[in-house]
């Protein structure tokens, strides 16, 4: 257990058993019979309490609580001052068991009381005594109306009935404070001036911007209409283009294209047929077939060699003529050609099949 704990416990026990402390009770009882003593004791304790509160107030940082405590102190002081006359009356009364010296002493005590009560500082400076009455209230951080000054004034008036010149004497601190105040005000004014200039410029700019916007509004409307028109035109053009392209690729045109293609191919095939199948190939085939026959004839009679050669020549000539005829686009044989062809078989009277071949 620590010392502090011991002390606390001792105190508590003492308080508890104070009742049984005969000596103390005797002291208290002494004053129990004596009204004066009682009253005096109570006043004394009040004064002590007030002194303690005054000390607390002086240490107090917050002005508001200090002021409250001071006000309470003043009230207490006033009450105590009221009690003083009562005490005086009681002091004069003779009480049994009291010596004359004590009586006189009591009187003195009672007389000393008011002074002691006044001495309790309640934040108001005892102005008539102190020269720097106003000065005491001067060094303050904020400008606040302290009722203490007023009370001091009123007290002075009530107590002394006159104003001392010293009341209104400015101390150094107060004039310094005033100077500082003026400087700060000037600086604030300067700052405010700058701000007002800036605001003026802003206002002007804002007004100009407003007017500019008003100017732009109809222009924007115009742009809006024009662009709307352009979009409509574009849309229209797009649709038309789409239609045109679709038309180009439509199925009807496609079928027509195919049919025409087929017709062209058919014509080509027909032509191809005619040239190759009908005219050329048979002649070529004939030539091929005739060759072995010619060879046979020739082997049988070499006399007919001359004839054979002439035969071939004639055949070639015939082919050529036929080709010519075909080149003339398969026209019906002209009279001249027919005549030419008809005369030819006469060259070969010994050859009957050539005639068949010809016609």
């Amino acid at each position: 257990m620590s010392v502090i704990d011991i002390l606390t416990r001792v105190d508590a026990i003492c308080n508890k058993y104070d009742r049984y402390d005969v000596e103390k009770q005797k002291d208290l009882n002494v004053s129990g019979d004596d009204a004066f003593a009682r009253l005096y004791a109570s006043v004394d304790s009040d004064i002590e309490a007030a002194l303690q509160k005054a000390e607390l107030a002086s240490k107090e940082k917050s002005k508001a609580s200090a002021v409250a405590i001071n006000a309470e102190l003043r009230r207490t002081k006033a009450r105590l001052l009221e009690e003083v006359p009562k005490l005086q009356r009681l002091a004069i009364k003779k009480v049994k068991g009291l010596s004359t010296e004590e009586l006189a002493a009591r009187n003195d005590l009672v007389l000393a009381l008011p002074d002691r009560i006044q001495a309790i500082s309640d934040g108001t400076a005892a102005a008539p005594k102190q020269a720097g009455g106003w000065g005491a209230s001067a060094p303050r951080a904020e400008i606040k109306f302290d009722s203490g000054d007023l009370f001091t004034c009123i007290e002075a008036v009530l107590n002394n009935g006159q104003f001392d010149n010293e009341y209104f004497q400015e101390t150094e601190t107060s004039s310094q404070f005033r100077q500082e105040y003026e400087m700060r005000k000037m600086k604030q004014d300067q700052g405010l001036d700058m701000i007002s200039d800036g605001l003026d410029t802003l206002k002007n700019m804002a007004h100009d911007m407003n007017e500019e916007m008003d100017r732009q509004v109809p222009l924007m409307d115009e742009i809006d209409t024009k662009v709307d028109r352009a979009t409509a035109d574009l849309k229209n053009t797009n649709v038309r283009l789409k239609d045109t392209v679709n038309q180009l690729r439509s199925s009807r045109n496609f079928c027509i294209d195919i049919i025409l293609l087929i017709i062209i191919l058919g014509i080509a095939a027909y032509l191809y047929n005619f040239i190759v199948v009908e005219a050329l190939i048979p002649s070529v085939l004939e030539l091929i077939f005739r060759l072995p026959l010619k060879v046979k004839c020739w082997s049988s009679s070499h006399v007919s060699l001359k004839l054979f050669v002439m035969d071939q020549l004639m055949l070639a000539l015939l082919l050529f003529v036929k080709w010519e005829v075909f080149l003339k686009k398969h026209l019906p044989l002209q009279c001249a050609e027919v005549k030419k062809m008809k005369t030819l078989p006469n060259l070969f009277p010994w050859r009957s099949d050539v005639g068949f071949f010809l016609l």
Binding site: D197, H207, E211, P218
Partner: protein, 304 residues
Amino acid sequence: MPISDPDKLISKADKLTKLSLTRWSADWRNATLLYEEAANLFRVAKNNEKAKEAFEKASKGQEMLSSYFLNEKIRPWDAAKHMESAAALAKELGYWNEVTDFYRRASELYMECGRPQPASDALAKGARALEDDMPEAAVQLYNDASAILEEDGKEQMAFDLYRAATSVYIKLEKYSDAASSLLQLGLAADKCNATNSQCKAYLGAIIIYLYAHDFKQAEKCYNDCSQVDAFLRSDQNRCASKLLSAYTEGDIEEIKRVVQSSTVSNLDHVVIKLARKLPTGDVSALKTDAGKEEEEPLDENDLT
């Protein structure tokens, strides 16, 4: 066109346009195209003289086209554009008369197209080009341009023109004209409910009158402007009244202080310059004048 030589183009175009036995009507369309090309080439080659001629001819060609083909509304537009380019080149070359002519012609063509906005723009450009050398003509152009805009009902655009005209007038030291153009600005601003510009214009006019040492006129102007509600309620009004009262009292310091205030600093540059130079001449003379005027009525009263 494979031919890149602008001279050849010009000669070709000329041939197309010249009427002769073989050619009964000038082929203006092709000729104009050739002229345009030649002009562009000249401009690139920095041959300003020729370029200007080419532009002139191109523009004339466009005009001819427009007269032949009345349904082609775009043509006067192109003609006007060419005129403007020709005018710009003329400005570079320093042919001031031609500049005015071209710009006026261009603006007329724009009006034909039914577009007053570019018309006034063309005149304004011309005026700006002429500001330095022919200020009177410039100011004339400015006034015409503002007239066109006012007719069209677009006063908002006219503000800038009025301000420019005012600055030219001040340069010419024609202070009453300058003040009157500012008052016209005020009128235009009133129609558009542009109160700030209006009040600034009125304050500027008053300052110009004071600068021209015409105190009576300034007072008259102030009284006229006070009739206008918007001016009455504005900062500029207070500033003007302060200025005038400072003048009547002959308080130079006060005048200087008013002039340094932000209200005056928000006005036009030229006006601020004038204001800073206030007070001109003898302010005390104005004071005695005002004093004398007060005495006379008393005398009359005495007589009657």
